[in-house]
């Protein structure tokens, strides 16, 4: 307990020093490119007071939630399918792998022309982003289920469906968890990308855009902090959720992070 506190404290020294140095230096030599950290705080509070921040939050979160839920659901289902059926795997896996390597941002101009500047194009992009990590990891998880387990299932006369739900699924849980976390992070990254590349859209990146256009660095800084905090929050929340009850035991596998992106 003490050791943990010390290590956390050690880690915090550098960030605190950096912020303090920044504040000290800019209070003397403030320039357009280097406003004081306090200015960013003020800017954020202003956005909160004028209710713009809330609006941005709701809009961005709505897109994120929609895209994420569609993408992860489809990704999980497809991954389970590919993990259980050799035929499906043979046909689709190489194609998914290939499609995955096409940079998502390249699709943006096309999506905008097809779906307009509304939310549909962004939601599609986020869904695509969250689709692949969980697809690949679920597939990998299913594939590594030891044959022995499945044979036991056959001995007990379980149907194909039952085998999936009662054997493969629990066994693949660590991989699914990894895939879920990766989808979450990547989905958030792509949300930001999609908002930046389809300008003026009512989302959180508007803070960044306004800051850039009006040359107000404090807004850009504020935007970066807000986005970073939210990303961290989602990650944190997801980790907590996955630690509930038996999920924790199941997913506590010594699972390397070097899994498919």
């Amino acid at each position: 307990m003490i050791a943990k506190t010390i290590s956390v404290a050690k880690g915090m020294v550098l960030p605190v020093l950096l912020v303090a140095a920044w504040a000290a230096w800019t209070s003397r030599h403030e320039s357009l490119l280097f406003p004081t950290p306090w200015k960013s705080v003020v800017a954020t509070m202003d956005l909160w007071r004028s209710h713009s921040l809330q609006g941005y939050l709701v809009t961005s979160l709505r897109r994120y939630a929609l895209g994420l839920s569609i993408g992860t659901t489809l990704g999980f289902a497809t991954g389970a399918l590919l993990g259980s059926s050799r035929i499906a795997e043979r046909f689709m896996l190489p194609n998914f792998n290939m499609f995955r390597q096409v940079p998502l941002v390249g699709w943006i101009p096309l999506l905008i022309v097809w779906f307009g500047l509304g939310d549909l194009s962004r939601v599609v992009l986020i869904a695509l982003a969250s689709f692949f990590p969980i697809l690949l990891n679920t597939h990998a998880g299913f594939r590594q289920v030891p044959r022995g387990y499945l044979e036991v299932g056959e001995v007990f006369g379980l149907s194909g469906w039952e085998k999936v739900v009662r054997i493969s699924l629990p066994a693949a849980l660590p991989w699914i968890r990894t895939g879920c976390m990766l989808s979450l992070t990547f989905g958030w990254t792509i949300l930001v990308a999609s908002e930046l590349l389809t300008q003026s859209n009512g989302g959180l990146t508007d803070i960044l855009d306004t800051g850039r256009e009006q040359f107000r660095m404090e807004l850009v800084n504020a935007g970066i902090v807000v986005l970073g905090l939210l990303g961290f929050a989602f990650n944190f929340a997801a980790t907590r959720i996955w630690s509930i009850g038996s999920l924790r035991w199941r997913s506590l596998n010594i699972h390397q992070s070097n899994q498919a992106e």
Binding site: M12, P109, L196, V220, Q256, E261
Partner: protein, 254 residues
């Protein structure tokens, strides 16, 4: 033979089906021609671009930016990652700071780069470098950290100098992880270049796509998308091959 054919043909059949669907949908104008460009038209546009030299020019710029930005970012990532991975002390003091910056979605750095560096080359390179940095850093430090104690002890037994330990034990041990990081990074770098060019540039594939969009030449946009995709796939294949050659003892999850 039959097994082999099955392995290769199955995925191809899906691709052919998609291509055929695209061709038919365009042919029978199920969607307005302005939105769903016939595949042949896109092909012709690509050929035209090649003939006029524009493709080479734009690609050249984009690839140049990727190479430079990647070099800087990945290089820094390896250096810092190796340092953090080998020294627990460094990790304790510097690790959390890097973790904090890692939370920021990488594209959020783009506006900042533009404010600092303008629309010059430097802003794009800076953005690409930042994008590449983290995957390489994380994987390298992970790889260096996981060099098994046993191996290091063997090195001690043989009386290897620190430099030799590094070269003959740490590097090969960490190599798979480092290569994974490099591979993830190049994909991100390519995306970063295209994004940066979409935002503000006078050359490059991303610029070409924006330009085509402004002129409502959708075949140009689609051609750009395809080219971006091809490069993405090609680089990934290249890295995959490099991995198999350099570290054939690892197995990748896709």
């Amino acid at each position: 033979m039959k097994r082999f054919a099955w392995m290769i043909l199955a995925p191809f059949s899906v691709q052919l089906a998609v291509l055929l669907a695209w061709y038919l949908l365009a042919r029978f104008q199920v969607f307005p021609q302005t939105l769903l460009i016939p595949p042949l038209l896109v092909w012709r546009t690509i050929v035209d671009l090649w003939n006029s030299g524009d493709l080479q020019t734009h690609m050249g710029w984009s690839l140049r930016r990727v190479a430079l930005g990647y070099g800087i970012g990945a290089g820094a990532g390896i250096a810092v990652g190796a340092a953090l991975g080998s020294s627990r002390r460094l990790e304790a003091w510097f690790g959390p700071t890097l973790d904090i910056f890692k939370q920021v979605p990488v594209f959020a750095w783009a506006p900042m780069m533009i404010v600092f560096f303008g629309i010059e080359e430097s802003s794009k390179l800076a953005f690409v470098a930042v994008a590449c940095f983290y995957p390489v850093l994380l994987n390298t430090s992970q790889g260096v950290k996981s060099v098994q104690r046993k191996l290091l002890e063997v090195g001690e037994v043989f009386g290897l100098s620190p430099r030799e330990t590094f070269l003959r034990i740490v590097v090969p041990s960490a190599l798979p992880a480092v290569l994974t990081g490099l591979r993830q990074s190049i994909a991100l770098a390519w995306m970063a270049v295209v994004s940066a060019e979409l935002l503000g540039a006078e050359s490059g594939i991303g610029f070409f796509m924006t330009y085509s969009r402004q002129l409502f030449q959708m075949d140009g946009v689609l051609a750009g998308v395809l080219l971006v995709g091809v490069v993405g796939i090609a680089t990934n294949a290249l890295f995959g091959a490099a991995q198999r050659w350099l570290v054939p003892w690892t197995r990748e999850v896709a």
